[in-house]
């Protein structure tokens, strides 16, 4: 991966020692003026550069804190994509530069860091943000106040829109619409019990689940939203058992979900009923014993078990390049890879780095070859249509049972 290092921004390594010395010196006000002056002088050239200016891409990832296992895979995925882009000619004939900013699993840090990317590093696009709350927190700084393109790469609830915002992960209808009929075919009945953690994504998903269940002749026999930090599911499990549910569709988030899976298994629900955790991907699989997860279905835009040559090579390359315990998976790493490639194509097509020009080109961009197959930005929607797959946990991995083909964001997308 040595040539990838060449594409990274020099700022991080060059300024590190000087910054450290300043920090050590301790004079807050005096020291703060220093980087400001340096930033002035250093960035002026880059910001005002002519047509041959190298493109700068800001990656905002949780490199530290509770979400680091996902954040690091964003950064790894971005480096792989940048390597590909630079190998095939870069953006407008110049190699692109990546600038990493650590949002530290914290929204206010993310706001500061995205401000730094936009105002100090003058990046042409920011890709990143993991939770929905973080995305909403940094949007104003990047888009409204910074007039910079923003790409959010993760599976989320949908309908987060902005003229300069694009989303390269799936949204609920893409998961729910194919998954529900599959569940009905493979479970013992059509009575569905829906559980979710009490926040935006599970609540937004409910609307689509209800519609999909009813239009497929099933019945929603129960709905329950549990606190985000819920760890005891015995009451909920009893309710499920007495509801006559054949299927439990659970958008409960970790770590609570592991307890829920355990309790539903121990109470015998899974002997005849089917439990589904739709967002289950490879890194989440590592959290608990494989035996407990055996047979759980999920529906995502990428699984490592994909057998086409492009995806096999991608997974192999990731494994041999990075040894930090992270996975190239549908947790946002895939969306980061996809987003960066689509952006580079759009910038080349527009032959410009101006946010509005690139946005216009990005709006109809198609990625012929990408993780999980081709991807297509649906014009006017700012969301992608991608292949969705049905995976089932088996021996600590996800086996692919079905390819649902390219699914559309539909009403969860935007309308421009």
């Amino acid at each position: 991966m040595s040539n990838v290092d060449g594409s990274e921004d020099g700022r991080a390594s060059v300024l590190t020692r000087r910054r450290l010395l300043k920090t050590a010196a301790g004079g807050a006000f005096a020291a703060m003026a220093g980087p400001a002056l340096a930033a002035c002088g250093g960035s002026g050239g880059a910001a005002s550069g002519g047509s041959a200016r190298a493109a700068k891409v800001g990656i905002l990832a949780d490199m530290t804190g509770s979400l680091a296992v996902f954040g690091k895979s964003y950064w790894n995925a971005a480096r792989m994509a940048a390597e590909d882009i630079n190998k095939s000619g870069g953006v407008r004939g110049r190699k692109i530069q990546l600038v990493l900013a650590d949002s530290a699993s914290d929204n206010s840090t993310a706001v500061q860091k995205s401000g730094q990317l936009v105002q100090q590093d003058h990046v042409d696009v920011v890709i990143g943000g993991l939770t929905s709350a973080m995305r909403e927190a940094i949007k104003s700084t990047i888009i409204d106040r910074g007039q910079t393109l923003y790409i959010y790469p993760n599976l989320y609830e949908g309908n987060s829109c902005g003229e300069l915002q694009f989303n390269t992960g799936p949204v609920p209808p893409m998961v729910v619409d194919p998954l529900v009929p599959w569940l009905f075919q493979n479970a013992s009945g059509k009575n569905v019990y829906y559980t979710g953690s009490d926040y935006v994504f599970p609540r937004a998903s409910l609307k689509f689940i209800k519609a999909a269940v009813e239009s497929n002749g099933g019945k929603l026999v129960g709905t329950e939203f549990l606190p985000l930090d819920a760890t005891d599911f015995s009451h909920s499990t009893q309710k499920i058992l007495s509801s006559g549910a054949d299927i439990v569709y659970s958008n409960v988030i970790p770590p609570g979900i592991w307890t829920q899976v355990r309790q539903l298994t121990e109470q015998g629900f899974r002997d005849k009923g089917m439990l589904c955790v739709p967002y289950l991907e490879e890194s989440a699989l590592q959290a608990i014993p494989a035996k407990l997860l055996e047979g759980l279905p999920a529906c995502l835009d990428f699984f490592q078990a994909l057998t086409d040559p492009y995806d096999t090579a991608l997974v192999k390359r990731y494994k041999s390049s990075f040894h930090d315990g992270t996975y190239f998976s549908a947790n946002g790493a895939v969306g980061t890879f996809r987003g960066l490639k689509m952006w580079a194509q759009a910038a080349n097509e527009a032959d410009s780095l101006d946010a509005h020009d690139v946005a216009k080109a990005l709006d109809h961009q198609e990625l012929k070859e990408g993780p999980g197959g081709p991807a297509k930005m649906v014009p006017g929607s700012h969301h992608v249509a991608v292949n969705m797959y049905l995976g089932v946990a088996h021996n600590g991995k996800m086996d692919i049972k079905e390819n649902f083909g390219q699914r559309q964001p539909g009403s969860a997308g935007c309308h421009f």
Binding site: T23, Q119, R203
Partner: protein
């Protein structure tokens, strides 16, 4: 100008050189030196300084260990965010006063519950209640759909104040001047008879009550004023960054505010400011400089700082005067405590 400052110092004797220095740096020295992102970052730190100032009034002087300071910061931020996004009110002449009022109102509600009535409530009870208040506030905001649940309120339009005010030098000056105004108010307050009673009642509530002061009212008023200042800070934060979210109400921010004041020096107003700016700056720079270990290093710095300089980073430079006012100075000859007549009542 320097001459006039010197005369004021000589005449008043109360404006410590350090305080003047800090505000001269904020208002005169820094603005021409900084640009772009540094302005944005410093503006945020000054907003945090405002929050730290409000906390130092109640904690450093009033002895109220406010473990839930973020709640009086976050709710006004939400109100302002809703006004700006739903009702399209963007004038700072409306939003900032609203934030002051909402902050004061939240302070009053909480304060009435905690301080009303004779006698001093158990410190532990007050601290835990405030912690719970912050925690509950965050939980409520997280699950309340009308205010955006966990996603909060994004896309707050720019504040207008003689024209649209984007993050930049204009916003910086606004925050710096509001900080100066609040600082002077709090400083005047703690040096007044009111402040003396506040500090005295922290040390011995019963004795001060015997002198005829309604100490709970003094505590309540200080909590309301500090609530207004924290509310102002919350609104400025929301308008500056364009969003309000549940973690602006939560325990993490509450704890961070405590650390700023602790490291800056409890009961030293200028210390709270310096602590907030310094700790945020160090944290930001460490994050950029060290890839994974920065939080560990930051933790070590805080622990070492708090143990070697328990009175704050400014303690080596401080005259004794401000500390005497905050009551943390141990008297050279401790007075003999009077025997309490009726311990049980």
């Amino acid at each position: 100008m320097l001459a006039s400052v010197r005369t004021r110092i000589a005449r008043g004797g109360r404006i410590a050189l350090l305080e003047v220095l800090v505000f001269v740096v904020i208002l005169v020295v820094l603005p021409p030196l900084i640009s772009g992102f540094t302005v944005t970052l410093l503006t945020q730190y000054l907003i945090y300084a405002l929050l730290a100032l409000s906390l130092d009034l109640v904690w450093g002087y009033g002895g109220i260990l406010d473990l839930g300071r973020a709640a009086v910061f976050g709710w006004p931020a939400y109100v302002v965010a809703l006004l700006a996004t739903k009702s399209h009110v963007t004038s700072g002449f409306v939003l900032l006063p609203v934030a002051l009022v909402v902050g004061a109102a939240v302070g009053l509600l909480v304060g009435l519950f905690l301080f009303a009535g004779r006698g001093r409530r158990d410190e532990f009870f007050i601290a835990m209640s405030l912690l719970a208040f912050s925690f509950i506030s965050q939980e409520v905001a997280t699950s309340w759909e009308a205010i955006g649940s966990a996603n909060g309120i994004p896309g707050i339009p720019l504040m207008t104040l003689f024209g649209s005010l984007a993050p930049g030098l204009g916003f910086y000056y606004l925050v710096a001047l509001l900080l100066l105004a609040c600082y002077l108010l709090v400083r005047w307050l703690v040096h007044s008879q009111f402040g003396l009673v506040l500090v005295a009642s922290r040390q011995d509530d019963r004795r001060v009550s015997f002198l005829g002061y309604a100490t709970w009212q003094v505590r309540l008023i200080s909590y309301v004023i500090s609530g207004a200042i924290a509310g102002l800070a919350g609104a400025l934060y929301a308008l500056h960054n364009g969003y309000a979210s549940p973690d602006m109400l939560g325990v993490t921010l509450s704890t961070q505010a405590l650390l700023w004041v602790l490291l800056g020096g409890r009961g030293v107003l200028i210390g709270a400011l310096v602590g907030a700016v310094l700790l945020n700056y160090v944290s930001f720079e460490l994050n950029g400089a060290l890839s994974t270990a920065w939080q560990i290093v930051l933790g070590l710095i805080i622990v070492v700082g708090a143990t070697t300089l328990p009175r704050g980073v400014l303690s080596p430079f401080l005259s004794r005067e401000p500390r005497r006012f905050s009551g943390y100075e141990r008297p050279a000859h401790p007075p003999v405590a009077p025997k309490v007549l009726s311990e049980g009542t």
